[in-house]
């Protein structure tokens, strides 16, 4: 890995907006990708020749390492005694040779793929060329970049490398793997700045990249969730109790029919399932931090594999708060969001890569701060919620007493759930259409259901068991709110087009105060 430590940025560090005190920016082959010879020397302001970059030269070794690890684990299992007596195995030399050949093959494949991968990220274009046999060149318009995520799987993390994922809103993300962590963060910052229309300079490495978090001194930390809270939330969540209950049912059945071995057969998977569940929740969201930098919101999380994802607030279609039964005593909430092109909601806390969890577990104040971060203009706490009429219990025997719905200028809020309480929040600005439905029984009872259709599929916002008279009364108002040309809920305080929402300063200022107060209380 003796790469050319040539210039990486297109400007000397002192001109770059992202670069901080330049004397401390260490630069070497480990930090910069390999650079084509003939690069523009530092100081030449407009780059004339295209400067193409390659991913980090260690990339093939990491891919080889992943294969090696998988093989070692797979073969190692064969050596573990499993109570069936020794199994005939080929001699150790053969195994080692086979493993070596496979790992080398993976390295070679990784090398070829690395050799043919080049990317250009400069003032004019964002282009990624890949493929040895089938060449492929992807060019992305800067303003179409929706979000950029920096993901560090465990193997890459050991070497201080990271993967850059570029989301342009299509079903597929372009991935650049692997770059040095500093380079990945710098490119991410640059691309996000460009995506928001700033003519930023192509950035050099950013300094002060901690191993555990992606935080910068200029970042404003909005919400931080401690591992203790995560652990507490995992142990008291309804999913946890679901696993416990299913185990207990098995044990109960086993005892009832007098078969003691069931105790063991049900107990072991239940306990390992519980451990797995809790550790996934805790390691996946470890050090969860929601922060705001100049060019947008960002979530950083993870213990073994670190993910830093940017949050395109305009693409958030709906949010769902949920609360397990025990969480009601603890005052904990969780927020899931639906973002166009991000796929399924929930159950993805263990994966490295993007997740649709806005807040894994947090207090009500943190919920408010997180929601104010994505929708600065809206405040769901002030939305007046009206309960479903008592006769709705004929159709919703369990959840009937807990059904609520309401709306204000910005949001539609509905509450559901008997054991697990859920609040669905949809901004009018994201509602594609509204539907009123009524079945034969509802008609008898004078009830109706409302559906709010968004571009997402997973949080199906609806209000059940609403008084038909109320719907009739509010119909015109609801439908008018659908096509209001008011400022967008996700417009940040410092909107790029001042004057458009100047009259909205009141609630904004209020939100900001609240955010400040909460930050200081969480720190």
């Amino acid at each position: 890995m003796t790469a050319d430590p040539g210039p990486v940025g297109f400007l000397p560090p002192e001109q770059s907006p992202v670069a901080l005190p330049t004397d401390v920016v260490p630069r070497g082959p480990a930090e910069s990708g390999a650079v084509q010879p003939g690069a523009v020397p530092p100081g030449a302001v407009p780059p004339v020749a295209k400067l193409t970059e390659r991913p980090h030269p260690l990339t093939p070794f990491i891919r080889g390492w992943v294969v090696l690890l998988a093989l070692v684990i797979g073969i190692g299992r064969e050596f573990v005694p499993n109570g069936e007596g020794p199994r005939p195995l080929p001699p150790l030399e053969w195994i080692l040779a086979a493993v070596g050949v496979l790992a080398l093959g993976a390295v070679a494949a990784g090398y070829i793929s690395w050799r043919f991968t080049r990317f250009v990220i400069d003032a004019d274009e964002l282009r990624v060329d890949t493929g040895a046999i089938f060449r492929r060149s992807i060019r992305v318009a800067f303003d179409k970049v929706q979000s950029i995520d920096v993901v560090q799987p465990f193997a890459a993390r050991l070497f201080g490398l990271a993967e850059l994922q570029i989301d342009v809103g299509s079903h597929e993300r372009s991935k650049l793997r692997y770059l040095s962590l500093g380079r990945a963060y710098a490119l991410r910052d640059y691309l996000l700045a460009r995506a928001r229309g700033y003519q930023a300079e192509a950035a050099t490495s950013t300094r002060s990249v901690s191993v555990l978090t992606d935080l910068h001194e200029t970042d404003e930390v909005l919400v931080q969730v401690s591992p203790q809270t995560l652990l507490l939330a995992a142990v008291t969540s309804h999913e946890f109790w679901g696993i416990v209950l299913s185990g207990l049912v098995f044990v109960g059945v086993g005892l009832a029919i007098g078969q003691w071995w069931v105790l063991l057969a049900a107990g072991i998977p239940t306990i390992s399932g519980l451990f797995g569940f809790v550790s996934r929740r805790v390691t996946g969201q470890f050090n969860y931090t929601l922060s705001r930098r100049a060019h947008g919101l960002r979530i950083a999380r993870g213990l073994t594999s670190l993910t830093s994802q940017s949050l395109p607030s305009r693409r958030i279609q709906a949010a769902q708060l949920s609360q397990s039964p025990v969480w009601r005593l603890l005052g904990l909430y969780r927020i899931d969001i639906e973002v166009i092109g991000w796929g399924a909601v929930t159950d993805n806390e263990d994966k490295s890569g993007v997740s649709t969890i806005l807040l894994p577990a947090g207090s009500f104040a943190q919920v408010q701060v997180a929601l104010a971060a994505i929708w600065p203009l809206a405040d769901f706490t002030t939305v007046e919620l009206s309960p479903a009429p008592v006769r709705a219990r004929w159709i919703h025997p369990f959840s009937g007493p807990f059904l609520r719905w309401g709306h204000d200028q910005y949001l539609v809020v509905s509450r559901h759930g008997w054991l697990v309480r859920r609040w669905q929040l949809v901004p009018h600005a994201r509602v594609q259409s509204v539907r009123v439905t009524q079945g034969p029984v509802s008609r008898r009872l004078g009830l109706a259901d409302l559906e709010f259709h968004t571009a997402g599929m997973h949080i199906a916002a609806h209000a059940s068991g609403v008084d038909a008279g109320v719907v009739l009364e509010r119909q015109a108002e609801l439908m008018a709110l659908l096509h209001q040309h008011a400022p967008d809920v996700s417009d940040p305080r410092s909107s790029e087009s001042p004057g458009r929402n100047g009259d909205q300063a009141g609630p904004d200022a209020f939100r900001a105060d609240q955010a400040e107060a909460t930050i200081s209380s969480t720190e």
């Binding site: 305009r314 166009i340 600005a429 594609q432 259409s433 509204v434 539907r435 009123v436 439905t437 009524q438 079945g439 034969p440 008609r443 109706a448 559906e451 259709h453 968004t454 571009a455 997402g456 599929m457 199906a460 038909a468 719907v471 009739l472 119909q475 015109a476 439908m479 008018a480 659908l482 096509h483 040309h485 967008d488």
Partner: protein, 161 residues
């Protein structure tokens, strides 16, 4: 007539010819399904069961054919200033409001039966798959005019996604 599912607006109904088309469609679809299911049951289980399936299928077909007239009469759409309203359903009534500004595209389709009767179906497509802004059984000339009106309104009032 102002109630929950037909707010005051200039409601348009479907042409009576569409009843025939819908009946034929129901007949074709249900009979084919019934025959396939009955044969499958007959070969796999028993021919007495197959008879039962056939009778049930025929009853279902007859029900749909009889109800087609009433279903078509409940269907209505209204073009308001800023949104399109669509209402339909006999037992499960529904009213959908789609702002023109959310329009992504407008589709006009017509299948073989539709074409034979000179009808077409217009669909207002939004970013949400649940919107389901279908209007079936329009005269082809009306469908084309409606499509152009929807497109014009959608472009004039476009809302950000």
């Amino acid at each position: 007539m102002t109630d929950l599912f037909t707010p005051a607006a200039n409601w348009q109904r479907l042409p009576d010819r569409y009843v025939t088309v819908r009946r034929l469609g129901a007949l074709a679809y249900n009979l084919v399904t019934t025959v396939v299911v009955a044969l499958a049951v007959g070969f796999i289980v028993d021919w007495t069961w197959a008879g039962g399936v056939a009778v049930a299928g025929l009853a279902w077909t007859a029900w749909r054919v009889i109800r087609a007239g009433r279903w078509v009469r409940t269907f209505g759409y209204a073009e308001r200033e800023e949104d399109l309203l669509i209402t339909h359903g006999l037992w499960n009534k529904r009213l959908t409001a789609i702002p023109y500004g959310r329009m992504l595209s407008v589709n006009v389709e017509s299948g073989p039966i539709d074409r034979a009767w000179g009808l077409a179906r217009v669909e207002l497509v939004t970013a949400s798959v649940q919107s389901a802004g279908h209007i079936p059984g329009l005269q082809q000339s009306d469908a084309a005019v409606l499509r152009d009106r929807l497109i014009a309104a959608g472009e004039a009032q476009a809302l950000p996604l």
